[in-house]
């Protein structure tokens, strides 16, 4: 039976939404012939998770500080994972997943496959589609399914409707003498941070005035989405700089990106090409963005966006 380690994240004492979708996917993917080892950094000692068909053992990692684990701690964790004879490790992409995946795979000699868009089984191997060249191309690979570390974008998979079960998380002490200290932490409060959002609503110069953003925010709220903008919009201070996506801004890879009143310049696309699905709303049928969209709507955004929000509110 395969042994799969999955790194899970909590928001407070609740499982984060992207962990839920990843677990939901794993459950359909592996069925019952699997043993799960769930690892959380600084999660609760006991938590409810969706019922999985495979067996579940939970570990709460005590690495001294929940923000960053030390290299020596992660190497210890790698040794523990090795002692458990884990075959594969799955993680959701985050700023910390890269340290965790890199250092653990260095300890175990596992191969890391990042930016997974799709994964299917073929005998003993996996067929994987991963996004490369900032989303401009897709690599289709077949690789051996053991000794593998997969990194999935946040929001990958789908939430399971399974009933919840309580899981106890045994504590796994990795604490070493700290080689670093934290001076200060700043977090953006309130809105959903862009790199974490699984849905993003972007708007550009087609908005005409910063006072018009209400309809974008309402659409975003309805979808639990974050808001983004094109560069000229943040340059003229219509929107804050941390919303600017593109070649010179943040690169996002949500499962859905909805672009309103953005022409689709190549520099903008460089930041959003990694998105799962792209919807473009633009009044100009010739807007270049339509060539890079899954779904296009030619129309006045001031008419389309509120009607779309209304339909979405009803589901």
């Amino acid at each position: 039976m395969k042994k799969i380690a999955i790194f899970i994240d909590f928001k407070g004492t609740e499982l984060s939404s992207y962990t839920r979708t990843l677990l939901g996917f794993a459950d359909t993917f592996f069925g019952s012939e699997v043993a799960y080892y769930l690892f959380s950094f600084a999660g609760p000692k006991q938590a409810s998770i969706p019922q999985l068909k495979g067996s579940v053992i939970g570990y709460q990692i005590n690495a001294g500080n929940s923000l960053f684990a030390e290299t020596t701690e992660l190497r210890k964790l790698g040794d523990q994972i090795s002692a458990l004879s884990i075959d594969e490790i799955w993680l959701s992409k985050s700023n910390t997943s890269d340290s965790v995946a890199g250092i653990i795979s260095a300890t175990l000699g596992f191969q890391i496959v990042p930016n997974i868009k799709q994964i299917t089984q073929k005998g003993d191997s996996y067929l994987i589609q991963k996004s490369i060249f900032s989303g401009k191309a897709t690599a289709h690979s077949e690789l051996s399914s053991s000794h593998f570390v997969g990194i999935f974008p946040k929001g990958f998979g789908s939430d399971s409707n399974a009933a919840s079960v309580e899981v106890n998380f045994e504590s796994l002490d990795l604490e070493t003498s700290k080689k670093y200290s934290i001076i200060k932490v700043d977090t953006h409060e309130g809105s959903i941070p862009l790199p974490e959002a699984s849905i993003v609503v972007g708007a550009g110069r087609g908005m005409k005035d910063p006072g018009n953003w209400g309809i974008i925010e309402e659409l975003a709220q309805t979808l639990h989405a974050a808001t983004a903008c094109s560069k000229p919009v943040s340059d003229i201070n219509w929107r804050p700089h941390h919303e600017h996506v593109g070649q010179t801004g943040i690169k996002i890879a949500p499962k859905l990106y909805i672009a309103c009143g953005i022409s689709g310049a190549i520099q903008h696309l460089a930041g959003v090409n990694g998105s799962g699905k792209i919807v473009v709303i633009n009044q100009d049928p010739e807007a270049p963005f339509f060539k890079h969209a899954d779904y296009g709507i030619v129309g006045d955004l001031f008419d389309v966006v509120p009607r779309l929000t209304k339909i979405l509110k009803e589901i």
Binding site: L67, F68, T71, R75, G78, N95, T96, D98, S99, G102, I103, S105, A106, T107, Q111, I112, P114, N115, S131, I132, S134, K136, A137, T138, A139, H140, S141, E142, L143, S144, H147, K179, Y180, S181, I182, I183, K184, V185, T187, H188, P193, E196, I199, Q247, L256, I266, N273, G274, I278, F290, K291, A293, D294, Y295, G296, I297, V298, L308, I311, L312
Partner: protein, 243 residues
């Protein structure tokens, strides 16, 4: 202090990527190659540190001789010497092993590179190098200051940023605004001509679990939906992204 900066050589960010179907790989005809933008930031910061604190800056690249003009550009920017590992890395793990093996023979206090290369966007090389060399690791680092052997860093975290202090040696994945991008000076270009680019044979055989790989352009569906039929869009999205 010795600083190693590892650079990738990648198609320019605004390149249109098309696929050469006969090779199942991207069509390299007409592509302009650049030093990876994040690596460029890392190099710029290394050179600033050399100017302010004094340091010996070595640039490392694994690739073919076609990358030499770009390695020369790094030397023109102010790096002291360069190493090219003559081979093509099949994945981050192999590249990281090569870097780590070089560093085992030639110790460095600080290893910098971009948070990711913009071709395969793996973002894993620095973490694996740190794991192999048992060095402190942070990424993505947005600010880096050094005082003696003490580093002060600003690191992006999920939903914000943190300021941390740690000791050398360390491996850092870098991103803007860690430094200003630099343009080589005329004098830099002249002196770069005589700087050394050491060529090393790869030391680790590539082992990989990859059985086969084929690359496609990411094709979008380009389905146009009349603006009076938004329900159709919502139905598609329910199916595609489980709205």
């Amino acid at each position: 202090m010795k600083i190693l900066v590892c650079i990738s050589v990648v198609p320019d960010t605004t390149s249109k990527i098309s696929i050469d179907s006969s090779k199942g790989f991207i069509d390299v005809q007409g592509l302009t190659y650049i030093v990876g933008p994040y690596d460029d930031y890392a190099l710029s910061r290394a050179i600033e540190l050399k100017e302010s604190n004094g340091a010996d800056v070595v640039v490392l690249h694994m690739g073919t001789s076609e990358s030499e003009p770009l390695i020369r550009k790094c030397l023109a920017l102010g790096a002291d010497s360069a190493v090219r590992i003559d081979g093509i890395a099949k994945n981050s793990y192999q590249l990281a092993k090569e870097i780590a093996s070089y560093v085992e023979d030639n110790p460095f206090d600080l290893i910098l590179m971009g948070k990711e290369a913009i071709d395969y966007n793996s973002g894993q090389t620095h973490g694996i190098v740190a794991g192999l060399l048992k060095m402190t690791h942070f990424s993505p680092v947005m600010q880096l200051n050094i005082d003696g052997s003490n580093l002060t860093l600003e690191v992006e975290i999920d939903g914000g940023k943190a300021e941390v202090s740690c000791q050398l040696p360390a491996v850092l994945g870098c991103q803007e605004p860690i430094a200003e991008w630099k343009i080589p000076s005329m004098r830099g270009i002249m002196t770069a001509r005589t700087k050394e680019i050491k060529i090393l044979a790869p030391s680790i055989p590539s082992t990989q679990a990859l059985i086969s790989e084929e690359i496609n352009e990411t094709n979008r569906k380009q389905i146009m939906i009349p603006s009076d039929q938004l329900q159709v869009l919502v139905d598609y999205l329910k199916q595609d992204v489980q709205l």
